[in-house]
């Protein structure tokens, strides 16, 4: 008789059974970690043998060294926000507004919708310095400006990719093609597990009525076991797919049916001795708990009015503000990685919603307030020390007017891979700092350039993971998120 099956047979109640088998499963997973705690592919429970039923892939695991942050809230601004109108203030660009963009900058470079000699475009937003740190913010971000001293702003981000899909793939999976790589959130839950067993370890929300450009691959597990893919939660209907029992089946009937199911499965376990049967019984029990825990967690009606007001959240609405509040509620319950994709930051000047004057100010209202509220809320609850908040788009926008809209009334910018701004905040980071700088036109970094692989290395580092050692063996090669590059941005570490 298999020891796990013995547990079943000797347990008198379901609760005993679950407690004991969870411990047994946990020990199975633990024995698969190697001695020094490094996490080569073959040492994680699920990766040890892909044919396995994974006993408990989300068992919390120690990283390579002591973590500075336990959880991540990643705010993905899909489309590429115009950083020169938000963070990276370039008075010289304003002064030279309307001049030809120097050919030395554009020569030999390809842009998505611009060719020939475009005109330089200074920002129309008013900029000011804020906080003790004196960081620059445009007037479009009043709430973020007010918490300037919490943020670590990076003005020297660059990438190789000038199309949305490839740029998002590079940022979120470490590789600019959809070639079966795993996403950042998947790597993190693979490396660390999750603290909450009744909720998925990696949860994704999408606002703005559109998928991000990288599609589901942005939170896919690629070559990692599929348990590590992000679980996309919906803002209407069941937040997690198929959470609700069928119409007409109440909780009592569901419980009774699961009891019968567990008993029949136990008979089978007795007959065959297959450990996987025991695992399946445990997974059904976890599903049952999720059925009550998830809706409860997702119910923002439970929040007091002043919290809803601070975020600008409205229960039932499919908004980014609601998702920010949900992110806090999830992290509060130990969810490892929450990622919010917000569509609609592609400011080409092709319509009134995507131009860099009033359109940008209006667009920022639905982002600036909830993000600032989220950071304040985390801080007030003492969660900011353990939680890393990351805000970024997939690339920046050009210091010149976009080619298609150059003669129109609306001002817009093309995709710009060579410079971008982003910010992070929370666990293990310096607060109130601005890192790196671009040249006087905001074209490219002149100091401390940061590539997506550096950003990924830094996020993993803050979580206690060494990006060169967090590997997974696939097709005869040890793959890592940062491919063959990536440097931790030590300047930003507190």
């Amino acid at each position: 008789m298999h020891p796990l099956t013995l547990e079943v047979l000797t347990s008198r109640t379901r609760r005993h059974f679950l407690r004991d088998s969870a411990m047994a499963l946990g020990s199975v997973a633990l024995t698969m970690l190697d001695g020094d705690g490094s996490r080569a592919a073959t040492t994680t429970a699920s990766a040890a043998h892909p044919a396995d039923a994974v006993a408990d892939p989300f068992l919390p695991k120690a990283g390579h060294f002591a973590p500075r942050a336990k959880n991540v809230i990643f705010l993905s601004m899909s489309g590429g926000p115009p950083h020169l109108d938000l963070f990276d203030y370039k008075p010289e660009l304003v002064r030279r507004d309307g001049e030809d963009c120097p050919e030395s900058l554009t020569k030999g470079k390809q842009f998505a919708f611009t060719s020939g000699t475009p005109k330089l475009l200074g920002t129309r937003q008013k900029f000011a310095q804020h906080g003790a740190s004196g960081a620059w913010f445009s007037q479009a971000l009043p709430n973020l400006a007010a918490i300037a001293d919490e943020l670590a702003i990076v003005n020297s981000v660059w990438t190789e990719q000038f199309n949305h899909g490839p740029a998002e793939l590079l940022l979120y999976t470490g590789f600019p093609r959809a070639q079966g790589r795993a996403s950042l959130g998947s790597w993190v839950t693979y490396g660390l597990g999750s603290e909450n067993r009744d909720l998925p370890g990696y949860i994704v929300f999408v606002s703005g009525r559109s998928l991000p450009s990288a599609g589901k691959v942005a939170w896919g597990s690629g070559f990692l076991p599929s348990v590590y893919q992000g679980v996309q939660c919906r803002t209407g209907g069941d937040p997690v797919l198929y959470l609700s029992d069928p119409a007409g089946m109440d909780r009592g009937l569901r419980r009774a049916s699961l009891d019968a199911l567990a008993e029949l499965n136990q008979i089978e376990a007795e007959r065959l001795g297959q450990p996987e049967t025991i695992t399946r019984i445990a997974q059904y029990e976890m599903a049952y708990r999720m059925q009550s825990v998830v809706p409860d967690t997702m119910d923002i009606n439970q929040e007091p009015a002043h919290v809803l007001a601070a975020y600008g959240a409205q229960p039932g609405a499919p908004t980014f503000a609601n998702n920010c509040l949900l992110a806090r509620r999830l992290v509060e319950r130990g969810v490892r990685f929450v990622q919010l994709f917000d569509w609609g930051w592609d400011f080409h000047g092709t319509n009134a919603g995507e131009e860099i004057e009033a359109g940008l100010v209006k667009r920022c209202q639905s982002m600036d307030q909830p993000v600032a509220a989220l950071i304040r809320d985390l801080k007030q609850r003492g969660m900011l020390d353990d939680t890393l908040v990351v805000w970024t788009g997939e690339f920046g926008r050009t210091p010149f007017r976009e080619g298609r809209t150059k003669d129109g009334k609306l001002l817009g910018r093309d995709h710009h891979p060579f410079s971008n701004s982003m910010f992070m905040c929370g666990g293990g980071l310096k607060r109130g700092v601005t890192h790196g700088a671009t040249d006087e036109l905001g074209w490219a970094p002149v100091e401390k350039p940061v590539h997506p692989h550096d950003l990924q290395a830094t996020i993993l580092h803050l979580l206690g993971l060494d990006h060169t050692r967090l590997t997974y063996r696939f097709q005869g090669r040890d793959f890592r998120l940062t491919d063959v590059r990536g440097e931790v941005i030590n300047d930003l570490l507190a």
Binding site: M1, H2, H49, P50, A51, A53, V54, Q110, N163, H164, G165, P166, A178, Q179, G180, P200, R209, S210, L211, S213, A214, G215, K216, V217, G220, S226, V227, V231, R234, G236, D238, L241, S244, D245, P246, A247, G248, M249, L253, A256, S257, A260, L261, E263, N265, E268, G273, Q274, E276, T279, R280, I281, Q283, Y284, M286, Q291, D414, Q475, G476, R477
Partner: protein
């Protein structure tokens, strides 16, 4: 144990007294677990030496010319024993003390010590000893096993000659006997039939099929049953699903817009080819190069859709050449992964570090694929008859052509008369207001739309023209019923190809001409090396990998894990086979037996190995948790497709309709569009199309069907040769609550209520029998009877709930079935469909 005494004697003799204590220590530690080492030499290059060298040395002293340091190459004998620039020799066979390799590995001076300290690599003392022993034994090198053409090994000798049913079992049993294990007893007939039915057709047997087989006294009952299963059209559907993973088939283009792609007729070609048992060599040639065959048939051209499943990026402002290049790269990588289990992709950016594959060779293969016309769009396509409509297609095509000719002529005549007509049009033909308005505009000033509108009105005044127009539109409609388009491979003007420096398409390096990697057999010198020649090279009898990789994948499907676990990697970085002789025997049998897939599958499922029961003792589970030794039957969770198809089959809802445009079973709304793309609205299919096999479910790369993804279906962006099998709470939610599965439970409830009328026990028995194909035990029946009693009592108190549970979403109840009964049995059916046993191959 005799082997160990000999090994120690040998080790002490060769290495000297100093090392003896160490070796004794390792013997006491490892001897009990290493019984299988019998007959193997003490130090085996491939098993013991090469991994150490590969891990620590090959990065700078391996096959990669560009990365080589100090002119030293350690992965082949000749350069490794040659005199170096320094005058030393890295390896002096038989003389470890004179070998510079050992001196460097053991040096304490950091300036000469190897590996360089900054690499962070250092060999353990035992590893140095292994190398020392190997050099002492003469430094025998060997070629990586997978790069040597397989030859048919002699059958392994076994003690229990009665057990083997065929050659396969000899190899399996020999290994078990060497391990001191015994095979399990055979599974009962019902279990075997469920296992074989699921494996061969993807569907469970009906209780009637089980009963007939259990009572079948014919001596060749197993063979006849396998023949029946292999002849079922469901066979092709089941195995096509697997091929689609490798072909990265999807009904959308990928990347941000993820636009729709019409390529399902290629999928149907695969179903037809597999059902017809097309030999694997022909299957290969037609898909890679059907268009290049002499006078190719339409089906052979259609087959080349295989490599048109690559992704497109239609996002605004993309560099088309970048994504054309990416598609060619994907074709190279996919071809070598699927047919040769070789990760050529490593050599895309640099010479392979571990296997003898250079970057230059990579781009030589690239140049073979670099000549097709497609340019980041689905074109070129061909119009093709849907399955079974070749004659209708030809007729419809001819009718469209004929109708078009008449239409064109009449249109020409009418248009020639238009100017004359316009003069008096208003007077005679009472045109509607908008035509009057257009007539008022001078002909030269009318815009395109106005011109068309007027011409159409004028043409429509003619009865013969109207008849011709009607005939043409009818002909086109009929044509559309029997035709579809499919993207195909078509060579255009040959392109010059270059090594892409660091794999970047904008950095062309040295020019290359077509070629195959030199580590393998040469391509014929007298034939132009195009896709056709490459395809023939892949299935050439000299190819060491193609047959092994193919049989390994079949084995993986049936036994849960391949004989080579890393099905996608047979190179030096892959896992060695668990049963090397068996793999080679199967490969030769397949290759020399005409690449006959059905025949090979029949050998596998009728083997004694496959027929074993899957009961496992704690000792065996601990000793061999993944059943690599095969001392028990192969029990695994069902694939994503089988989970769906089986639920539909058990409940009686399954549509057996084959082929055609993909369908949309119900799925929840996400309220999201694809980025820059059309809406991702998912209009659920109607009628029988709601209940088609998973194979026909529309596959969107950016938002794949969630219930398939939950059960580990891949995204299909790139080729996938092996699916993981996970076990998660999200899977439980799918089979408990997805309306598709609720509908199945409702249908199963109605089925048992009408098929088993005696009492609840009879109904419970029937439900279990339908689901798992065996007779239920009294204990199981009693448990379900008590559940139905409880459910009936609860639901009787609330007719609204009972009605919802019985009918939403399946619909109104049949005559004579009460809502409370149907709902209570829906609860039971839901349990039955979620049993671990139901979700598993037994």
């Amino acid at each position: 144990m005799r082997y160990w005494h000999k090994a120690i004697a040998w080790a002490i003799a060769s290495v000297g007294r100093l090392l003896a204590p160490l070796l004794l220590l390792s013997m006491t530690q490892f001897a009990p677990a290493t019984v299988l080492a019998a007959d193997r030499p003490a130090v085996d290059y491939l098993r013991d030496v090469r991994p150490i060298l590969a891990r620590n040395c090959f990065q700078c002293h391996g096959a990669d010319d560009a990365a080589r340091q100090a002119g030293l190459r350690l992965d082949e004998l000749e350069p490794a024993i040659a005199k170096l620039e320094s005058g030393q020799r890295a390896i002096v066979p038989g003389e470890p003390t004179q070998s510079e390799l050992i001196a460097r590995l053991t040096a304490s001076d950091p300036d000469v010590a190897m590996p360089p300290r900054e690499t962070g690599k250092q060999l353990a003392a035992a590893e140095v000893d292994t190398l020392r022993n190997w050099i002492a034994a003469g430094a025998p090198y060997a070629k990586h096993w997978a790069y040597v053409k397989p030859v048919r090994p002699p059958l392994a000798t076994v003690s229990d000659a009665a057990w083997p049913a065929g050659a396969i079992d000899h190899f399996v049993l020999a290994r078990l006997e060497a391990e001191g294990l015994k095979p399990s007893s055979p599974a009962d007939r019902a279990t075997w039939l469920r296992r074989a039915s699921l494996d061969l057709t993807g569907l469970p047997p009906t209780p009637e099929e089980v009963a007939a087989f259990v009572d079948d006294t014919r001596p060749d009952a197993f063979e006849l049953t396998v023949d029946r299963l292999l002849a079922s059209p469901a066979y092709g559907e089941r195995w096509t699903a697997l091929w689609l993973d490798q072909a990265r088939y999807a009904d959308s283009q990928g990347y941000a817009p993820d636009g729709p792609r019409t390529i399902w007729r290629w999928r149907d070609w695969v179903v037809e080819a597999l059902n017809a048992n097309m030999p694997y060599d022909q299957f290969t040639i037609e898909q890679l190069a059907g268009d290049l065959l002499p006078t190719p048939s339409p089906a052979q051209v259609l087959a080349t859709g295989f490599h048109r499943n690559t992704q497109l990026n239609t996002e605004g402002g993309v560099n088309l050449e970048e994504f054309r290049h990416a598609a060619v790269v994907d074709r190279v990588n996919t071809t070598f992964a699927v047919w040769m289990g070789t990760t050529l992709a490593c050599a895309q950016c640099h010479n392979h570090k571990y296997d003898p594959l250079s970057q230059r060779e990579y781009y030589q293969v690239f140049s073979i694929f670099n000549n097709t016309d497609d340019f980041n769009t689905d074109e070129p396509t061909v119009q093709t008859a849907v399955v079974g409509s070749d004659a209708e297609f030809a007729t419809a095509q001819a009718e469209v052509a004929a109708a078009q000719t008449v239409y064109d002529e009449l249109t020409r005549q009418r248009d020639a008369a238009q100017a004359e007509w316009e003069k008096n049009a208003a007077a005679y033909d009472k045109p509607p207001k908008e035509i009057v308005e257009i007539l008022a505009i001078a002909a030269a000033d009318r815009n395109g739309k106005q011109k068309d509108q007027l011409a159409d009105f004028h043409r429509g005044l003619s009865e013969p023209w109207k008849a011709a127009d009607k005939r043409l539109s009818t002909a086109k409609q009929q044509y559309d019923q029997v035709a579809t388009s499919v993207p195909i491979m078509r060579d255009g003007t040959p392109r010059n190809s270059f090594v892409s420096i660091r794999g970047e398409f904008l950095s062309p390096g040295e020019p290359v001409t077509p070629g195959v990697p030199a580590a393998f057999h040469p391509a014929p010198a007298d034939v132009k090396l195009d896709r056709l020649a490459l395809a023939r090279w892949l299935v050439d009898a000299e190819n060491p990998l193609t047959a092994r990789v193919a049989v390994n994948r079949l084995w993986q499907e049936l036994f849960g894990t391949g004989l080579v676990e890393t099905a996608e990697e047979f190179g030096t970085q892959g896992d060695p086979p668990s049963h090397p002789e068996l793999l080679d025997w199967l490969a030769v049998e397949y290759r020399d037996g005409g690449w006959d897939t059905k025949r090979l599958l029949k050998l596998l499922v009728t083997s004694a190995t496959y027929r074993q029961a899957s009961q496992v003792t704690p000792e065996l589970a601990a000793r061999d948790p993944h059943n690599r030794l095969l001392a028990r039957g192969p029990r695994t969770r069902l694939s994503a497709e089988m989970v769906r198809d089986q639920a539909l089959a058990i409940s009686g809802l399954l549509s057996t309709k084959m082929y055609g445009s993909p369908v949309q079973p119900p799925q929840p709304e996400f309220g999201l569009a694809a980025a820059f793309g059309s809406s991702t609205d998912w209009k659920p299919s109607e009628g029988a199309d709601r209940h088609r096999r998973a194979l026909y479910t529309r596959w969107r790369r950016n938002l794949p069907y969630p219930s398939l993804v939950a059960f580990d279906a891949p995204e299909r962006n790139v080729c996938s040769l092996r699916r993981m099998r996970t076990n998660t709470p999200l899977q439980a939610l799918v089979t408990l609550n997805d309306p598709v599965f609720v509908e199945c439970a409702q249908a199963l409830a109605r089925r048992v209520l009408t098929e088993a009328t005696a009492d609840d026990a009879a109904r419970a028995t029937r439900a279990l029998n339908l689901a798992v194909g065996r007779e239920a035990t009294p204990r199981e029946v009693a448990r379900l009877v008590s559940l139905v009693a409880l459910a009936r009592e609860t639901l009787a108190a609330d007719p609204t709930k009972a009605n919802a549970l019985a009918t939403d979403p399946l619909g109104p109840l049949p005559e004579g079935v009460s809502a409370v009964d149907a709902a209570a049995w829906t609860v039971v059916a839901n349990v039955v469909l979620n049993l671990d046993e139901t979700l598993s191959k037994p």
